[in-house]
Symmetry: C2
Subunit: 345 residues, 2 copies
């Protein structure tokens, strides 16, 4: 009897069961795992009352249709890479990655303290969605090439698996970009149907085994200086949640954001070591490739800003923020990195 | 009546009030603020039942005695930099920073996926404590010098405010290290009682106004390639918490870890700009200074490992992890950073 008044003061916790459509296969375990991290934490923070069941890409809806499914409330929430939806609006890329864009730390600084999250939420709101940063891969690799690339001219006519804006930029450099799902990359490279393919970084790339059929491993993936993954929630479903469940979701997304990057950073070094032992040859992209790509990226951004008001608005904030970040990071952070990474043994 | 069985199934939420002793003054608002971030989130995740009131350094106990106070249960928890306690055991430095150590991302990778958190918890357990990573500053600056440092010889006899292991290394290079609280740094530099002083980075340094009395601003702070702050909790108090409150504390600490770094990364660029406009002159430390410091750091670590079993055990894990991280980060991450930071405008 004594306990009843105390309990009555607490907010009643309703049982809520959601489904989350991930865009990713379980084989991309670090990315897919971020959704599980969130789901587990939300459950524990709500005494098991708010359950979010995660489905891999294709189980509920195809990986590239997660935004539509959540927007239409076919499923309450999703975990996706917003740049999959640049066909709807190129401004979605600011949520994930743009060539020569922010590093992982800078992306978080922009989201949480540079107005970035608010700007992205204005865009998502138009689709009936609310978004939460939820994981990052760090700088990705530039991919696997069957032949060495000695200069810009060597890219001419190369068939490369590279989707999105990265592919657009590469096409300006003479590459013929291809869209292929992960499972088709190995056989296509082996047969020579394609000449090159980018995927993620050492840990995920190793699983595809591409070093066996295209040993030249280029860096950096200048189109993904970092890649943020986001949790997206149907706004109406979000609004129905008790505040406690909203708190739980939000803080669990922040944790997933932190943890996914830490996991990639921990797993990539050993994977790179194994790839090198397996015969992979590391090369930086030639300087003229990087410079030509930067020029084309800036051109593309200016053209898009001129015709797309949403892109224009976000680009103005993002570009100013990025350029300021770059000026600061080249001082303490990059100087420390360059000295230690090259001299400490 | 219908609601009672449903409520009865939930864990009863007791009202718990804790105090948290921060080691930091409110003027270090980004660091101090991480404790407020945690406190606010924990309150909201527990429907206001678990309240943690944060006290600035000196309010409950002096900033450098937070570990003792929490260990003795004078206060239930604290927010501190573990390297303040190297006098007890030098191994505490692995929780915060060591010269030529891990960057912020690498520190998290080590904590969460490299066995680092487990190793640190073994150390803290001996003091009746459990620790949670709770914020990072990123790479710090090397500090303010009244005169330009052109080579290693210029450090000879210099009186520099630099505490801890950084100070130990500097003393091997001929510097006379000084321990001074923040408030004494400006007048000491102005009078010439000291020749140089390190503090944090642009955002915090600006508030002390050191550029007015020592304009040469050196980078990087090689003794703090990153600096992790930790939440520490008295183990007995922790064990008394309901699992839900433990979950709330743990996830809120992870969020504070993410957010503090993002806040520094967002605030430092503009502060650096203002410092440069105010007359600060940026310089990298000369190469011979960096090389001599690295040599002395390695010597110190080997000497300590030979006589300190706790240090030896953690150093073995940390060193292997660090060196692997450095080999990977120099590939995609550093190459991307170096190109973009220097070429993107």
């Amino acid at each position: 009897v004594v306990a009843v008044p105390a309990l009555a003061k607490e907010e009643a916790l309703p049982e809520i069961q959601w489904r989350m459509a991930s865009s990713f296969p379980k084989s991309l375990d670090t990315i897919y795992g971020a959704a599980e991290t969130l789901s587990n934490r939300v459950s524990k923070l709500t005494q098991g009352k708010f359950q979010i069941r995660v489905f891999a890409g294709g189980e509920l809806v195809p990986g590239l249709q997660v935004l539509d499914a959540v927007s239409q409330n076919t499923v309450q929430c999703g975990h996706t890479a917003s740049y999959y939806y640049v066909g709807k609006n190129k401004a979605f890329a600011f949520d994930t990655a743009l060539p020569f864009g922010l590093t992982a730390r800078q992306q978080n600084a922009w989201f949480y303290f540079g107005g970035g999250l608010q700007l992205m939420r204005e865009l998502f709101k138009g689709y009936g969605l609310i978004n939460f940063p939820g994981g990052n891969t760090g700088t990705q690799m530039g991919g696997w090439f069957r032949k060495e690339i000695k200069n810009l001219a060597d890219l001419k006519g190369l068939k490369m698996r590279i989707p999105g804006i990265g592919g657009e930029i590469m096409s300006k450099l003479g590459v013929v970009p291809q869209s292929l799902p992960g499972a088709d990359v190995y056989p296509s490279l082996e047969k020579g149907t394609i000449d090159a393919a980018e995927w993620v970084g050492p840990y995920d790339d190793e699983k595809l085994g591409l070093y066996k059929v295209a040993k030249h491993y280029y860096y950096p993936g200048f189109w993904e200086g970092s890649a943020n993954l986001s949790f997206i929630v149907n706004q109406k479903e979000w609004d129905k949640l008790p505040p406690l469940y909203q708190e739980a979701f939000e803080v669990a997304a922040a944790e997933a954001n932190l943890i996914m990057l830490a996991e990639y950073d921990a797993k990539n070094p050993a994977a790179l070591g194994r790839l090198l032992k397996g015969g992979a040859k590391l090369h930086p992209f030639p300087k003229d490739v990087m410079e030509a790509a930067l020029k084309e990226a800036n051109k593309l951004y200016n053209e898009e800003a001129a015709k797309n008001p949403a892109f224009n608005k976000i680009y103005a904030s993002w570009k100013r923020f990025r350029n300021d970040e770059f000026q600061w990071f080249r001082v303490a952070e990059a100087t420390y990195a360059n000295f230690t990474f090259n001299n400490v043994k």
